[in-house]
Amino acid sequence: MTESFAANRLQSSGAYALELDGVARHFGALVALSGINMRIAAGERRAVLGSNGAGKTTLFNAVTGDFLPTSGRIRFFGEDITDLPPHERIRRGLRRTYQISQLFKGLSVLDSIFLACRGVSRRRFSLLRPAITDVNMVQAESILNAVHLEAYRDTLVATLSHGQQRQLEIALALAGAPRFILFDEPAAGLSPTERRDLVAILNALPKHIGYIIIEHDLDVALRVSEYVSMMHNGRLFKEGTPQEIEADPEVQEIYLGGKHG
């Protein structure tokens, strides 16, 4: 079932951004992921839904290389990246954000974004101070504007509000010409206004940038994704358009608890 949905879309879009073949991850006796097959076309925007413990974040960690899958292969734009360390995957255009913000509390907002740009560029070991005209500094300034953090350019990250930290999370993932981004609950803890901003930022991304977004809020997921994959107990069990998923009685029973519909 999973395969057929992906196959339909392949005909129109060409190459896959991300392919997972039988990816599994065990933690001792616990099976966190099991037999995940996924094909995501370049530029596609996919939501992954599922209750807590369904394996969504584990899936992200396997793709970014935070840990290796127990079995299965992962390909990124056709290249097998299963055994690559995280930084090598990032340099190939993969990015992610974290469910709980993973930021640099001792740095300023601009410096954080600058490092994100420099991470996939040259001169990472430079002992010189970056000039304001440095290409990565200029990129950082423009990303700063894109996520509406220009007023906090020189603010220490530790002093940002939760919503601003979530925006910075996204800024770090946008740095350095990404090709595919994994968003791990970017709307978590945001106010309704901030959620609207988030949806606007995601929809304003260049069309060639595909992503997977883990999102509990179906309202957000519906507005920023074309297809939805449902996870349950470490498995993918249903895929479809947001409308199909929302209307599916099985989905409502397991995940939505009958609240929607």
């Binding site: 340099r91 993973q102 509390k105 600058f114 490092l115 420099r118 010189l128």
Partner: protein
């Protein structure tokens, strides 16, 4: 004080501006110090404080910016000192290639940097207290190895008869030239670290300290950056080692013992790890105490006094003397309008 009135500066600018005035006053005082100091105060207090300040600075670079607390900085300095003894001249009749200082010093610094990078490469797999433990193990192992190895380290007697260079008509082991030599290299190291803290690499190091996982997710090879930081810290510690062996004229396992390793940590913690000036402040306090505590409480108890002062400073201010200054300053500058502090 006038600069404290500016309200629209960021904390970093404010910090640097304040240091601008402070730096000038400090530099003038340090340059004029030989006019009032005896030879004893020039070398035993001044020179020693600067040397141990540099050792503390190498630790501050790793611990303050990189979050890696090392007890092996004296070991790295010792490797440079041994390299000077072995590559240059000594009177032990074991090894001694008789190289001139300008050839021996770069090789000594290179040895220190490589040794430090190796120690770093071994210890960056660990975090927090385990880094302290593994570097302590390396420091202790090196100490015992040096003591028992006669082919390279000449056992527990080590090497003696090492001479500081003499050029430009100056004997650099003489009190005043030696003080200025220490001052020059200390200022150089200090300025390099201060400048480097805002360099690309300095920022990556601080970001790795704050969140190594995120740095990997931004495309950084975290281990490589940490090991490079160890190599840079090794150069500073190596410089201190060269000065130490020139001043003492000898190097033995006692130079790199666990006592000395802990002294470096105490210096850095007493002074404060948040700014490169901290280790130098700590070094002055510790060197003064180690020199004069005996006069105050006698040979039996002087370590107790040092330990108590350490406890009091850390108890009152976890950030060391730097932290104390941060607390006293607002009371001194009553017109301070600094936001958010």
């Amino acid at each position: 004080m006038s600069l404290a009135i500016a309200t629209n500066v960021t904390p970093q600018q404010n910090w640097l501006e304040r240091l601008g005035a402070g730096h000038i006053i400090l530099a003038v005082a340090l340059v004029l110090y030989p006019l009032v100091a005896s030879d004893f105060f020039l070398t035993q207090i001044g020179g020693y404080s600067l040397i141990f300040g540099m050792l503390g600075l190498s630790l501050m670079l790793l611990a303050g910016y990189g979050g890696m607390v090392s007890l092996a900085q004296i070991t790295v300095a010792g490797i440079a000192a041994y390299a000077i003894a072995i590559l240059g001249s000594n009177n032990s009749n074991v090894l001694g290639f008789g190289w001139p200082w300008w050839l021996a010093v770069p090789f000594a610094l290179l040895s220190a940097a490589l040794a430090s990078a190796l120690i770093g490469w071994i210890s960056v797999r660990t975090e927090g207290i385990y880094t302290i433990m593994i570097t302590l193990a390396i420091a202790t192992a090196t100490y015992y190895f040096a003591q028992q190895n006669y082919a390279i380290f000449n056992g527990h007697s080590g090497y003696a008869g090492i001479r500081a260079p003499a050029f430009w008509g100056i004997g650099w082991r003489d009190a005043r030239p030696f003080y200025y030599l220490c001052l020059g290299l200390a200022v150089l190291s200090y300025a390099a670290v201060l400048y480097g803290s805002r360099s690309t690499f300095g920022m990556t190091l601080q970001a790795i300290r704050d969140n190594p996982r995120r740095m990997r997710a931004l495309g950084y090879h975290v281990t490589a950056h940490k090991v490079f930081a160890w190599a840079l810290a090794g150069i500073i510690a190596g410089l201190a080692g060269v000065l130490l062996v020139w001043f003492n004229g000898r190097v033995s396992p006692g130079t790199i013992g666990v006592d000395a390793a802990i002294d470096v940590l105490i210096i850095a913690v007493i002074g404060g790890l948040r700014h490169p000036i901290g280790p130098f402040l700590g070094a002055v306090v510790v060197v003064l105490m180690q020199t004069f505590a005996i006069d105050i409480v006698g040979a039996e108890r002087f370590n107790t006094l040092i330990g108590m002062v350490f406890l009091v400073i850390v108890f009152v201010s976890p950030d060391g003397i730097l932290g104390l200054w941060g607390r006293i300053k607002p009371h001194l500058a009553q017109e301070s309008l600094r936001p958010g502090q």
